[in-house]
C-alpha cells in the first residue's frame, strides 16, 4: 500500500544533510512552508543551497533558516522585500552567496529540471548584466541566453490539501512555485493544511499528481508569516 503520510514535521524532514540543495516553495509569505523550515532550523544542517523566489521576511521561516547561518547560497529572483532584514545584512557583509535569476527563468529552470530537459534558450536577460558569462545564440533573429535546468536534493512545499498518494491541491496565489518544485527534487516533502481521504480529491482538480511527492505531513492552521513578522517573532521562539 502506498502511504506517503508522515506523522510529524520532524519526521518529514529527517535526514536532510549539511550541503543539501533545497527548493523552497512560496512567493513572499504565500505558499512558504514555515513549519517545515522551522523544523529544518531545529535539525540544524548547514552549508545549504536554497532555491526560492525570495529570502524571507523578519526572523521567521526562510529568514530564520538564513539567520541561523545554515545557508551558504541562495538562488532567487527577488532577494529583498519590505520586511527582509536577515539576507541583506549577510549579503552586504559577504557571508552569503547570491545567484540572481530572472523569475521566469527560475521557474523554467526548475520545470526543466523536473521534466528531463537539461538546458534551454530564453530571450530574458539578453543584453543585460545577467547575460554575462552565458552562452548566447541568435534564434528567430533575436539573442537568446542558454540557461541550465535546476534539480535539487529536496523540495519543501506547502499546499492546502493532500491525500496519502501525495496528490496535491493548492490555495490561490500560494500555488506559485509549488507544482514545478515538486517535480524537480529527489525527495519532495509537502506540508498540507488538510489530509483528504484517499479517493475523495477530484482527479480533474488535482494540481500535483502524487508521483512527484515523497512525503506529506499535515500541518493544520499553519502559521501566517506576516502575522509573525508584525508581532516581531523570531524563530527559535524566544522564551
Amino acid at each position: 500500500m502506498i502511504n506517503k503520510i508522515i506523522s510529524s514535521v520532524e519526521a518529514a524532514i529527517a535526514g536532510i544533510p549539511s550541503g543539501a540543495t533545497i527548493l523552497v516553495s512560496g512567493f513572499g509569505e504565500a505558499g512558504s512552508p514555515v513549519e517545515l523550515l522551522h523544523a529544518l532550523v531545529d535539525l540544524g544542517p548547514t552549508d545549504l543551497t536554497l532555491i526560492s523566489n525570495n529570502t524571507g521576511s523578519g526572523q521567521v521561516g526562510l529568514a530564520a533558516l538564513i539567520a541561523n547561518h545554515q545557508v551558504r547560497k541562495v538562488i532567487c529572483s527577488f532577494p529583498k522585500t519590505s520586511n527582509s532584514v536577515v539576507f541583506p545584512e549577510l549579503y552586504r557583509s559577504g557571508k552569503i552567496e547570491l545567484e540572481l535569476v530572472p523569475q521566469g527563468t527560475l521557474a523554467e529552470r526548475i520545470r526543466c529540471g523536473g521534466a528531463g530537459i537539461p538546458a534551454f534558450y530564453t530571450p530574458a536577460s539578453a543584453g543585460t548584466p545577467l547575460e554575462e558569462g552565458k552562452e548566447t545564440r541568435i534564434l528567430d533573429g533575436r539573442t537568446h541566453v542558454l540557461e541550465y535546468a535546476i534539480r535539487a536534493d529536496y523540495a519543501l512545499v506547502k499546499c492546502r490539501k493532500a491525500d496519502r498518494y501525495g496528490n496535491l491541491v493548492y490555495n490561490k496565489t500560494a500555488r506559485n512555485f509549488g507544482p514545478v518544485m515538486c517535480t524537480a527534487a529527489s525527495t519532495t516533502i509537502v506540508q498540507a493544511s488538510e489530509i483528504a481521504e484517499a479517493g475523495t480529491l477530484d482527479p480533474e482538480s488535482i494540481v500535483t499528481p502524487g508521483i512527484f511527492v515523497s512525503r506529506v505531513v499535515e500541518v493544520r492552521n499553519p502559521l501566517d508569516e506576516s502575522i509573525l513578522v508584525a508581532e516581531n517573532k523570531s524563530y527559535p521562539w524566544q522564551k
Binding site: N53, L106, G127, N176, F177, G178, V180
Partner: protein
C-alpha cells in the same frame, strides 16, 4: 538642475490614465509599485484582465479592511482580490503567458528609462545594494507593449528619463510609453514625443527635468 516645485498628476491619476489607454479585452500584467494601483481602474464599458506574475489572471483591487487573504497577493506581496472568472496557475504557466507573447501589455515601475526605450528597474548597481530582478526581464522580453509608470524625477530631483541609463539594464529598447506625474511620453524610433502635459507643466519645464531630448507631437 531646476528646483522641483510642480507636483503634476497624483499616482492615482497616473494609474487611471494608463488604464484608459488600454483597449477592451486586453490581458495586462501589473508590476510592483505605482503599477499596482492600476488594478483599481478599469475604464467604463471595457473589460481588462489584470495578470500578476505570481499566478493570478483576473486580479481585482485591494480587499476591504478585514477581508485580506494571506494567500491572495500581487507581485508586490500586497493583498488583492480575484474577480469573477479569475484563474490561478503555477509559475511556469504564468511565465509561459509572459514569454510566450500571450500578455498584451505590461505596466512596470522604473529607476531609469533612456531616450531609446532602454529600461533599468532592478538594481542601482551601488555597493551594498541588493539587486532584485523579479519577473521584469521576462516581461520586457515577452510582452509587446511595455508601459512604464513612475515619478518624473528621483526624490533628490534627478531626471529618471535619461540619454543613456547609468543603472544596469533590464532590457534594451523595450519601453513604448512613459507615464509620469508631469507628462505622458511616447518612445518612438526617432525619439521621445510628449503626448500630454500635466496641469501647470510647460514643455520647457519638462525638458529641464528630463535628461534626454524631448520632441513635440
Amino acid at each position: 538642475m531646476a528646483e522641483v516645485t510642480i507636483k503634476g498628476w497624483d499616482t492615482a491619476t497616473m494609474a487611471a490614465m494608463a488604464a484608459s489607454d488600454i483597449p477592451d479585452g486586453s490581458y495586462v500584467n501589473l508590476g510592483i509599485g505605482i503599477p499596482e494601483l492600476v488594478a483599481s481602474h478599469v475604464p467604463e464599458g471595457r473589460e481588462l484582465i489584470y495578470h500578476t506574475e505570481n499566478g493570478l489572471l483576473g486580479m481585482g483591487p485591494s480587499p476591504a479592511e478585514g477581508e485580506e487573504d494571506h494567500e491572495l497577493i500581487n507581485a508586490g506581496k500586497k493583498y488583492v482580490t480575484a474577480i469573477p472568472g479569475a484563474s490561478y496557475f503555477h509559475h511556469a504557466d504564468s511565465f509561459a503567458m509572459i514569454r510566450g507573447g500571450h500578455i498584451d501589455y505590461c505596466i512596470l515601475g522604473a529607476f531609469q528609462v533612456s531616450g531609446n526605450g532602454d529600461l533599468a528597474n532592478w538594481s542601482t548597481g551601488e555597493k551594498g545594494a541588493i539587486p532584485a530582478v523579479g519577473g521584469a526581464m521576462d516581461l520586457v522580453a515577452g510582452v509587446k507593449n511595455v508601459f512604464v509608470i513612475m515619478h518624473h524625477c528621483t526624490k533628490t530631483g534627478e531626471p529618471k528619463i535619461v540619454e543613456n541609463c547609468t543603472y544596469p539594464l533590464t532590457g534594451k529598447n523595450v519601453v513604448k510609453r512613459i507615464y509620469t506625474n508631469y507628462a505622458i511620453i511616447d518612445v518612438e524610433v526617432n525619439g521621445l514625443y510628449v503626448k500630454e502635459l500635466a496641469p501647470g507643466v510647460t514643455f520647457e519645464y519638462l525638458q529641464e527635468n528630463t535628461g534626454a531630448r524631448l520632441l513635440r507631437k
